[in-house]
Symmetry: C2
Subunit: 407 residues, 2 copies
């Protein structure tokens, strides 16, 4: 009897979510006298302060009422949904003319990244990913027996890519470069010049870029958002995006790949992406049906308010945390995150960022993710979307915590 145990597949064994693994090791027991303030999850809906725009709710409800969008969409998505994405991200001033044929609707930005990785990488090949960076790239690549190599971002230069390091990692197994702009976990936003420099490296080595642009347009006042596609002449860009963050609906699971390929360098990759989209069919049909309204009818005031609130929160956090001896918050320019460096020598009590973060939970009930979650020890990440008063309270507690433990 005991020999009747079903073995699990190698793929399942290889599939690891590092954040989950790290967080599962933590003892997340807040201090009994202090209500928990979770600044850990990149989900702007958690605290209820950031709400979906009324127009978006209405778009969904009328799609439900109309009864026209309950059937199977094409595997690449409804034509009008793809059209809406194409219109939104066309940039004629840069010669970026996208049509619906260049868009594949996917199951959220995660699904879009999965399509891009699956279409470009074979087992044994590698993809270059940022450090600090979003761990999903590694999960997806390793799941399919491909590898990641981490290139460094430079905190002193607003988290620009260390181009020398990037280039030094490229070998004959490298199949693509992933960039995240604006960045999770850094909240940084690349300049036009820097984007060009990155593209030059890709061009020199004839590599495509997977641009994770889920935070596209989520930049603070006076910080322009520049898309990778707008700066690329010959390097193909697979731009992965979605509505999760900008429209405050991560649970809705709608994203897309936009194929930018001015010089037809993608060859069979295009059909490859389409073939892969047929494995599962992507996003919910109702959300697809509402997408044109979501992308094009959401009032400007919604965007302004969301970004205004995030920027205000960042300003408060920067002001407070930069005054704390031992902490080095790095000012973000967009997205919804803030990386805080820790001078660990001032806190000799803690072995590493993991232990420090852990103790901040048990003593102060403030939950940030340790830098380790982003392959970047010596830092912790704060999600800046919670209500301002919660963030101020968190700053009070972090300050107290640092005072108590600083040597």
């Amino acid at each position: 009897m005991s020999d009747f145990v079903i073995p699990v597949s190698e793929m399942a064994k290889r599939t690891v979510n590092p954040i989950r693994q790290i967080v599962d090791q933590m003892e997340i027991k807040p201090h009994p006298d202090k209500p928990m303030i979770a600044l850990s999850i990149g989900d702007p809906t958690v605290f209820g302060n950031m709400k979906v725009d009324a127009s978006v709710k209405e778009a969904i409800k009328s799609a439900v009422d109309e009864l026209k969008s309950n059937g199977y969409p094409p595997s690449i998505g409804y034509e009008h949904a793809r059209q809406a994405v194409a219109e939104k991200y066309t940039e004629p001033e840069y010669g970026v003319n996208i049509s619906s044929g260049d868009v594949i609707i996917a199951s959220a930005c995660s699904g879009a990244i999965d399509l891009a990785i699956a279409a470009l990488l074979n087992p044994g090949q590698n993809v270059l990913v940022p450090r600090p960076g979003f761990s999903l790239y590694q999960t997806l690549a390793e799941s399919q027996a491909s590898e990641v190599k981490h290139y460094d971002l430079i905190p002193e230069k607003g988290w620009e890519i260390d181009l020398k390091h990037l280039e030094s990692l490229i070998d004959d197994k490298t199949a693509a470069i992933i960039v995240t702009n604006p960045s999770n976990p850094c909240g940084s936003v690349f300049s036009k010049e820097h984007i060009r420099d990155v593209i030059s490296v890709a061009s020199k080595h004839k590599l495509p870029i997977i641009a994770d642009e889920i935070y596209a347009d989520m930049t603070f006042k006076d910080v322009p958002y520049i898309s990778f596609a707008s700066q690329s002449k010959d390097v193909p860009i697979l731009s992965c995006g979605g509505i999760a963050k900008r429209y405050l609906v991560p649970g809705w699971r709608l994203g897309w790949v936009i194929i930018h390929d001015r010089n037809n360098r993608l060859g069979e990759v295009r059909q490859g992406l389409v073939a892969l989209s047929q494995r599962l069919l992507g996003a919910n049909s109702i959300v697809q049906a509402a997408l044109p309204n979501i992308l094009h009818k959401t009032p400007q005031s919604f965007y302004d308010e969301t970004m205004g609130q995030l920027e205000e929160n960042v300003n408060v956090l920067m002001e407070r945390l930069s005054k704390v001896d031992g902490l080095k918050p790095i000012k973000p320019s967009g997205a919804m995150y803030l990386m805080v460096g820790v001078e660990m020598t001032k806190f000799p009590e803690f072995k590493d960022d993991f232990e420090l973060v852990q103790r901040m939970i048990t003593e102060q009930s403030v939950f940030c993710l340790p830098g380790r979650c982003f392959t970047y020890p010596g830092y912790f990440r704060i999600v800046v979307s919670p209500p301002k008063d919660r963030l101020i309270e968190a700053c009070d507690r972090i300050e107290e915590f640092c005072k108590q433990h600083r040597k």
Copy 2:
């Protein structure tokens, strides 16, 4: 310049949807004087005669209004959604006691099947699948470099599995058996005895069963629906289901895997399924939030009407088509399909079912899928969900077509 062409991955090349491939080869030009009647797509929403229940629409709309379900659900799904599935498919009379911990919410039944295949099969291993059968199994297995082996169903025995043939295919590379009950494309429903016989084969060879039960409970009057789990003592059953067909919302992309494992034979497969669910996060959060209402508050009248309409349609089709010399419709007992055998010798003009179906489009504007789409030449499949008058019109035309071409 010309050497800068990005190669596509092996996985993308291996990912093939046979139905799409076959249909893409067809010239789907209907006769100009006759409006097309498409009996080809397994989507009950196409003609607008079958409508989502009002209660289901309301469940979605209130989930949208409540603003509580826009965030990231856990990767395995909301607890209350999993709970609702567990309650629905618990069968205490058979000792099947499912809890929410046995349920993983997935991106539709396709996503559930993908999870099950990915958790059980390595590259080079094989899974046994029915012939005629649903082509997605092959697409998913081959996509991950696993193989399928087709076991025969026997039309004369109401499409029961040829057990000898099934068993003869098992080798040391076989990792699982997939069964589809009720069946697409046959509309057949297995008896309790037959299910037990199938399970015996699996038990003897210590193989798990992936039971595609997306058409669970969709049986006609006096035909009981028996789940595979209810009949298994020791064989682990991964039951894949979803709301696509029964609730007439295939575009909503919500499904599930129910893990039935009375004797803990699945070992690490359970965690493997959970790990795999973290790759992409499954189904839309709003539909997940509405799932308890969908599964438990939909009025019985809705189910009765849907199944009544399908059965009525089947009766009409059977009556008409069984009188056509040269055709052999096989009576279904559930789901929403009907397989029609063709005595090809009576139609010597056509090389095969593909050519016959093709000509039925160009001459009569009736579009059925050729048996080839289900690895089963000599048949064509009719989707029985369209409005009755459309089906009658289709029968008229098929009859005329056969009369014209019969030798």
